[in-house]
Structures are given as C-alpha cells and as structure tokens.
Amino acid sequence: MTLTLAILVPLLPFLGALAGLASGRRAPGLVRPLAVLPTLASAVLAVLVLARIGTKGHLDSATRLTPTGGLPISLSVHLDGIAVLLAVLVTVVATCVQLYSTAYLREDPRYPSYAALVSLFTAAMLLVVYSGDLIVLLVGWEVMGVCSYFLVGHHWERPDARSASIKAFLVTKLGDVPFLFGIFVLATDAGTFQIDGILGAAATGRLHHATLAALLLLGGVAGKSAQFPLHTWLPDAMAGPTPVSALIHAATMVAAGVYLVARLEPVFLLSTAALVVLGIMAVITMIGSGLCALAQDDLKRVLAYSTVGQLGYMAGALAVGDRDAALFHLLTHGAFKALLFLSAGVVIHAAHTNSLTAMSRMDGLRRRVPDAYATMGIGLAALAGLPPFSGFFSKDAVLTAAEHAANGDALTGGLGPAGNVPCWLGWTVLIGGLLTALLTAAYATRLWLLAFFPVRRAAAEGVAGSGEAVAATVAPTAAAVAALASDEPAGPVEPAAMVAPLWLLAVPSVALGLVGLWPHALPAWLDGVSLTPSGVTWPIATGVALLGAGLAWLAWRRAAARVLAEAEADAAAAADPAPLLLGPLLGPSRTGFGVDTCYDRAFVRPVLGAARLVSFLDREVVETYVKGAAGTPGLIGRVVRRAQNGNTQGYLSALAAGVVVLAVVVAVAQ
C-alpha cells in the first residue's frame, strides 16, 4: 500500500506532464488543472507516505529491470526518513510553484509546455529522491538537467536566456561526467548499483576506492548544487521565469546534489580527502557568494547568490559529517527560499524591473505589493538567521556540527568514524559559517532596504518636514504599518493564486525551525542527532548576524545621506550600501570574482581558438584535398567535355583519324 502510494508520487506529475504536453494546444482549458492537480495530489500522497513510513521505519522494494549481464540494474524504491521528508518538501514547493505560475504566466503563449516541463521536473526530482538505485537516480538526475535547460531557456527570444540555458546545461553536464564515473567506481566496488548495497559495503569496508568515488561524485554534486567552481550557471539561470528559479533553488535541482551526498554520507565519511575537498569547497563558496550577493544589483541574482551560499552551509555540514544538520537546513532553506523567490516575483511583477537601484527610486512599492513586502521580510529574516525564524535553527545546527568537529567529536550520527573529520576542517567551516552569517545578514538587510525604502521619496518628505518619512527610514516595521495603513490607492492587486503560495510558504519559513527542537520531531526521521542550538554558537551567530544587519543599515544611512546631499548633482545615484561595505572588493564581487572571465580565458577562448583552428584546418586544409579531389575530375571533365561539343563532324573527324591511325599501325606492324 505504502509502496503503491510512493510509486504514485513521482508517477502523477510525470503523467500530468505527458497529458499537459498532449493536450496543450487542443484543450487550453485543461492545462491549468493538469498542471496543478497532479502535483497537489502527489503532495498529499507524499505526506501520506511520510505518515506511513513514520519514524525509524524504512521501506525497500526492488524489481529487476532487465538482465544486463554485469551489474544488475533494478527499479527500486528506497524510502527512509530523508527521502519521505524531502519528497514532501519537493511536492509542496512544486505545488506552490505550479499554483503561482498559473497566475504569473497567465499571458504566456508557451504556458502549456512550461507547466508540463515543471511537472516533469518535479517528477524527475521525486524519482531521484525515492530511487534506491544509482542508475535510476541518474536517470532522474539527467532528466532534471534537460528540464532545467528548457525552463531556463523559456524566454528563448532573449539572448541572455538562451546563453543561460546552454550554460546551465553544459556546466551541470560537465559535473555529470565525473559523477557517472563515480557511480561506476562505487558499483564496481560494491558489486551493485543499489544504494543499500553500497552503504552496506561502506559499512563493512568493502569499498576500496572510496576516496576516488567520493571525489568523482563531488564533481556532479558541485555541478548540480552550484558549488565552487561550478556555481556560475546558477546566477545566470535567473534569466528563466521566477517560479522556475524558485523551484530550482528551493527544492529540486540544487537540492539534488546535497541530497545525494547525504544519501551517500557513509561513503564520504570513509575519506578524509573527500571531506576536506567538500569542506574547502563549501567555505569558498559561501564566503564568495556572500560577497557577490552583497554587490549584485539584480534582485534575483542576489537571491541566487544567497542560494549558493546556503548550499555552502549544507555542504559544510556534510563535510563535518553531520547530515542531519545539512538536511535540516535543506528543508528550511527550501521553504524560505521558495518564499523569497515567489515574493521577489511579485515585486518584479509590480516594479517591472529586476534592478534594485531602480526599485530604490520607486515610490510606493510597499503599498502596491503588501503581501510580498511582508512575506519577503519573513523570508529575509529566515535567511539572515534571525531567531526565531526557521533559518536560525537550521543554520545553528550546521554551526554546532562544525563546532563539534572542531572539538574533534564530529556528529556523524553513527554513520562513520568521527576521526575522519579533521579538527581544522571543523574550525574552517565554523569560521567560514560565521563570516557568511555576517555577510548574509548584511545583504539581506541591503536587499530589504533598497527594495522597499526609496530614498528620494523619503528625502522629499524630509524636506517637507514630515516626521513620518524620517520614522519610515528609521523603523521599517513602523513604516510598513504606516504604509499599509495609509489611505493612498493601492496598486494592482496581485491575484490570489500568486499571494496564497506566499503565505502558505511563510508558515514553514517561520515555524519549521521549531521541529528540530524536539528529538521526537525531526531528528526522529533522520539519524537522531540533536538539532538543538548549542549554547556556544547561537549567541555568537546571532550577534554576528545582527552586526551584519546593523552595518548594512549604517552604510545605507550614510549612502542615503550622500544621495540626498547630491540629489541635484547626480540624478542616477542610489543609496546602495554595498560600496561602503565592500570597499575595493566591490568590483570583483559584482562580477562574481571573475570566475566567468576566468573560465572564459581558461576554457572558452582556447576552445574557440581550437575551434577556429579546426575550422581553418577543415576549410583550408581538409577541404583543399576534398576540393582537389572534386576539382581534378572536374578539370579533366572540362577538358574532356570540350571534345563533347555536339559537333557531329568533330566526332566523325576523330573517328576517321582513329581509323587512319589504326590502319597505319596495322600496316606498319605487318
């Protein structure tokens, strides 16, 4: 029964996708139900499965796919706490996104294919989550890659969307190549593609190439979960529609990488090298992305870099051996990041721009999108890790794990030897996490201030002597209340289909952190590691976050003051605190520390040069031979053709001459 339900969970969106594709043009009325209802049903089923599996239970079922001669590949389901929890997250977020999209893409002529692809995307992710076999998992993994390619390139009329989709596809595929080999290495060692079998092999020490396999797998994980150095596709993928960004960032694509590492955590714990690489990668990613997010002007790019950073947290938790913390953060992050993106979509919808600078000069955004204003505040608070929002608990779980690792007793939850996690790695992750917390709070504050508190309006009212404006600049909440309470005509009211998911997601964003507090709630489904904030880290982390927010606010104040002073001189100036905060790092941060340029120099240009060389070789050298091969017969033909001039007398002349020659030859020969 549970198995049937579990199989239905990925199957329903898949069938929905097929039906949507089939009926898209013929029955436009069916498209929206076909998009939302299967996903919704799948969410309900996922919750049912969650309830049936319960704590500490797990269900494995496999059916041999086909005799392959070598290692058997089987269609198998592996349901444990991690899988069912993640499935719920995926289906809920996907349902919200589908619901949201019905309104967001109301006018889009390609909505049917879009909805079907989102359903397919969801189905693929669910396949990854539920699969008990690495090859089947890989199928879902790759289907996701393809779907992300199509969805990011949804607006293929725009060149940036086209290049972004190609980039996303290429970069993730680049990671998938070592990933595939990693799977092969694992399967060769364990003698099976079954995850159970592999974990069993890891437990009994039959994995002889754990380091190699883990490092190879990390390639795919870095690609999918946008870790340094393969993170570059994610900010560019913002060219896709905003709901797609929410889906990719919150629940599906990027989560897949973290989920896979979590699934195979015992394998990683066998190898210190892999953990170190993962940890260093995570730290570089989170700090770099924090700096980048602080410098970005595009609202969605800020969120994208924040995703990269939060994924860094998860990777860091995995590196110090605590997959519970990582998954906890994955869940909370899924909730608040989906919320952030969806509300950002509303804001962008209202502002008709992505640019924070433009928004900072725009009056009344708060009043026009009050729901987005409120929910985005919740989401940003969760992102910044302010208590009691969900992000606070999950981030603190990560930091606690790092602190334990720094002290030498990594919280591996009995999955592997704690000794394989070096202390210095724990310190690195801990310090990196704290720094990131500072940066996260700073850019969350900056985003909030820039998007909703226009300086020019405040200045104008300031000149008029209105205290309300000053109060607004000083106390955001009061300003929000004031704005909500003001009797100015509200802007375009967003449709309920767009607003409802926001509030639906706001609930877990606020409250999901609490489930980690009770050992019987969340930890019971996981490995049972305590997720309660430790007394050492949470005050520090909270202080650091507040410090970051305060610094950002101060810098914003100074920038705003300067803008007010130079209002007449520089009309385009914005009250951006980033220059003050970042100083000389601003330029590199804005361009993502030149990673793209670096790739461009290191790979794209050589490849282009090689391509030009090959093209030159092909056109000038190979083709010369080909042309010669064609030209020589042509030349001969042209010469011979002159004889073939249709002149009967010419033919006759040749004939007669030949006869004469033959006669002479015969005569002479005799």
């Binding site: 001039n645 249709g646 002149n647």
Partner: protein
C-alpha cells in the same frame, strides 16, 4: 589498264568526300560529300569487278545496290535536313548542337528555337 588508276582515283575521291563530310557546315553539302564517298566506293567495286571478271558480277551488282541505297539515303537525308531546317531555321550541322555538353550552345539552341516559329510561318507563306 593499270588497276592502280581507278584504285588511286577512288582513294583520292574518297578522301575528298571525307574532307567534305568533315569540313562542310551545311547539311546538304555534307550529304553531297557522302555521295562522293559512295561513288568512290562504287568506282572501286566496278574496277575490281572488271579486273576479276567475276562470274557473278558481284561488284557491279553491289554497285547497283549501293546506288539504290544512296538514292534512298539522299531522300531520307534531305527529308531530315528539311525537317531540321523547318524546326530550327538553319541547315548548319554545327548549330544543331543538342548533343552538346555545355551551356554556351544552349543559348544558340534557344535562339534557334525562337526562330523556329518564324521559320514555320515563312515556310507556310511559301507553301
């Protein structure tokens, strides 16, 4: 009589006819040259027949046949030439170049084709 005389005369006549066939542009002139060649052959046949005193007179009989065939040939040949002239407006052999593997002649053909209708009309005016 020395056999060389008629033999050499026939050979030379044949070559003169050959030259005519190869060098003449007008189809009727070509046919005339062909007649010359046939006559050279006839002369040879007669001379050898007379020389050999053939009881069957095969040489002269063959000559008669040749003459008959030549008459038939000239009749048919002229019919063909007239047909070509009627269709193309010319009896020049080297302009009847449909066998040509080339484009430079195609223009000439088209011109000839366009002249075809004119030629037809004129012919009808005469007939």
């Amino acid at each position: 009589m020395h056999l060389v005389f008629p033999a050499v005369l026939a050979a030379l006549l044949f070559c003169v006819g050959l030259y005519g066939v190869l060098a003449r542009r007008n189809a009727v002139l070509m046919l005339m040259s062909v007649e010359l060649m046939l006559n050279a052959v006839n002369l040879n046949l007669v001379a050898f027949d007379v020389w050999l005193r053939d009881a069957l007179h095969s040489g002269q009989a063959l000559t008669l046949f040749t003459i008959t065939v030549a008459a038939a040939e000239i009749g048919l040949g002229l019919a063909i030439v007239l047909l070509i002239f009627r269709n193309r407006g010319t009896a020049d052999i080297d302009r009847v170049g449909r066998l040509t593997d080339g484009d430079e002649k195609a223009d000439g053909d088209e011109k000839a084709d366009s002249a075809e209708t004119v030629g037809d009309d004129e012919m009808e005016g005469v007939g």
